[in-house]
Symmetry: C2
């Protein structure tokens, strides 16, 4: 192990495999907050040492189990956080409909950072809003909705009004079709949120939910438009889906939320699950945000910068340190920027200078 | 209703009673984020209107139920967030011991903002740490521990080391006694955290948990000491218990956490329950914090300011507006300071000036 944090990293990897029983490399990387290549390297080393085996994912061998429990003193997990907010059986008919509508919606457009949430996720979101007193009798706004959360909310038939704003005409057509067939009265507004919020949507809603592009400008833009859409900013509630990113990026995410005058009231990891796309282990956290009296949209005019993942971080860069170490820099890597790499130093030799750009490649 | 936000406030009060079935005024105020007198006034108005009755707490009458469900379109709650992390039956013997030890610990010293968590809470905290991979085989630090969380953690018998730092000698004596009897090896350090962290505790721990004084300086001080105690600051985990305060104060709490380079990874409302003291509805939230590479203790030297509730906000003040409205100002009130009252205006007439101090009283 050439890592400075070798022992800690190995412990995390072993702990996570122990906790889950079986885990793939991407999930392992995400859960341990290690870069994927590092997690993969550790897994390989542990395989060589006979502690870990592969069987559709990393598992502990008998020796591995003894080591983890006997030497490291870990005990098996007793609790599942995932899906703790389940779908009660009474809502099974709604889930059936959602499954059907979901399977027929237009395919996800990755250029718009679309990635479809599962029908269960859409319904659990709607129930979570309901549970917080923010759906029944309320005017709810969905800022971008390829997840069909608006349809799930509509099918609960308790909201006063449901509005969807989206840039994707195909999607709005699908939602309008469902809404008409089911009599949900969902209002669809075709609008690019990079443009100012339409006048008629301002100050018109009790709450909003968004699963925005997973970039800081995307987050700031969607939250800004959402804040402007609220009727009452003192203690309204907003819902945000956002993935686990590297620590320093999460620090920035929370900083932006704070700066805009919102605070996290509840945060549920792995709440949202997605179909297909292998984005960040296919789950995101659910943030329930309180919109305080100090809330302010930090973007009010048109926004001309990039907001989508592809626009902002098109490549992973590989830097070579003088010591020979190759270090990946990019949004899903341990170092988001070369500045960060320089300030924290080479993970192998610790030097803070002398990095050479060796390779650029499209982000996977 | 003379409130500007009358409709919204009434809706929240009705929604909360509907959701809970029966609820006391303090809980009602906390859950609706309304000042207690306002929540009480609304409850009285609703009683007069025949929508609410009192029966060991506010309940909905039949008319009230019809109104809430028929007119406001609310539906009953389907989920309990409280206690979702329960104590598995296998740990019942530990809980029994904790109940016994808890009943014999020294009484809470309110001058030190002590308020004893329930034995169940202490054990659920320890299990939560365990679940996150932060107890088994780890060196854990408890910054202040009149809750006996260290004992709960010790009784799980998985940690590498457990250390308690507290200003209260009586408490440390009790913990030492329990530790010796049970063979837990808990290390107790008598120390006032307003003084710099003892050299031997710096960089020595994998994680820490604190239920600090519920003031911004108290929070900043305890987190600063905790950060200094950590061995590895890149993605370590810290646990913080903190109550629901008024929105602008919560914004400040989250701002301080962000400023110190930590971010919220999971936030569970109403996780911690307390015996006796009627503090903020007797529950606090549990924050699981990630300590990033940017983490820094913002207080490193001795701290000479106030940190306890009594030191910082000894009184509630009542201001009279020219319109006749009496407005309470204080840490647990809607307006934390008179500056806030002036900037937001009288809740009755909206004027932003002409307030006269009518009364000062010790905070309850």
């Amino acid at each position: 192990m050439r890592l400075k944090e070798g022992e800690e990293a190995v412990r995390r990897v072993l702990g996570e495999i122990h906790r889950r029983g079986k885990v793939g490399t991407k999930d392992l990387a995400r859960a341990t907050r290690l870069p994927t290549p590092v997690a993969a390297a550790i897994r390989r080393e542990l395989e060589k040492a006979g502690l870990v085996a592969r069987k559709g994912g990393a598992i502990l061998t008998e020796t591995g189990k003894e080591f983890v429990e006997g030497v490291l003193g870990m005990v098996a997990d007793h609790r599942k956080t995932e899906g703790s907010i389940g779908v009660p059986p009474v809502h099974e008919p709604i889930l059936e409909k959602l499954r059907d509508y979901s399977s027929r919606r237009p395919s996800a457009n990755p250029k718009l950072d679309q990635a479809h949430a599962t029908p269960e996720t859409a319904l659990r979101r709607a129930l979570y809003m309901l549970d917080g007193g923010n759906l029944a009798g309320r005017n709810a706004l969905f800022l971008g909705d390829d997840d069909l959360t608006s349809v799930a909310a509509g099918l609960l038939r308790v909201a006063k009004g449901i509005t969807v704003v989206d840039i994707d005409g195909r999607l709005l057509e699908a939602i309008t079709g469902i809404s008409e067939k089911e009599g949900l009265g969902i209002e669809c507004v075709l609008h690019d949120l990079r443009e100012p919020l339409p006048e008629e949507l301002r100050g018109a809603f009790d709450t909003f939910l968004t699963d925005p592009p997973y970039t800081i400008p995307g987050l700031e833009l969607f939250l800004s438009r959402g804040i402007q859409a609220l009727r009452w900013r003192k203690t309204s509630t907003a819902y945000l889906a956002y993935p686990d990113k590297p620590p320093l990026e999460m620090l920035e995410v929370h900083g932006a939320i704070n700066w805009m005058g919102l605070f996290v009231d509840e945060l549920i990891p792995r709440f949202n699950m997605y179909i297909g796309a292998e984005i960040l282990g296919n789950t995101t956290s659910m943030f329930r945000l309180v919109v305080t009296g100090e809330a302010r949209p930090i973007i009010t005019g048109p926004f001309r910068g990039g907001i989508y993942t592809g626009e902002l971080r098109p490549t992973t860069r590989v830097y070579k340190c003088r010591c020979g170490e190759a270090i990946e820099v990019g949004s899903t890597k341990r170092f988001t920027t070369v500045e960060e790499l320089k300030s924290r130093g080479c993970p192998s030799c610790g030097k803070k200078e002398g990095f050479r750009l060796a390779e650029r490649r499209r982000a996977d």
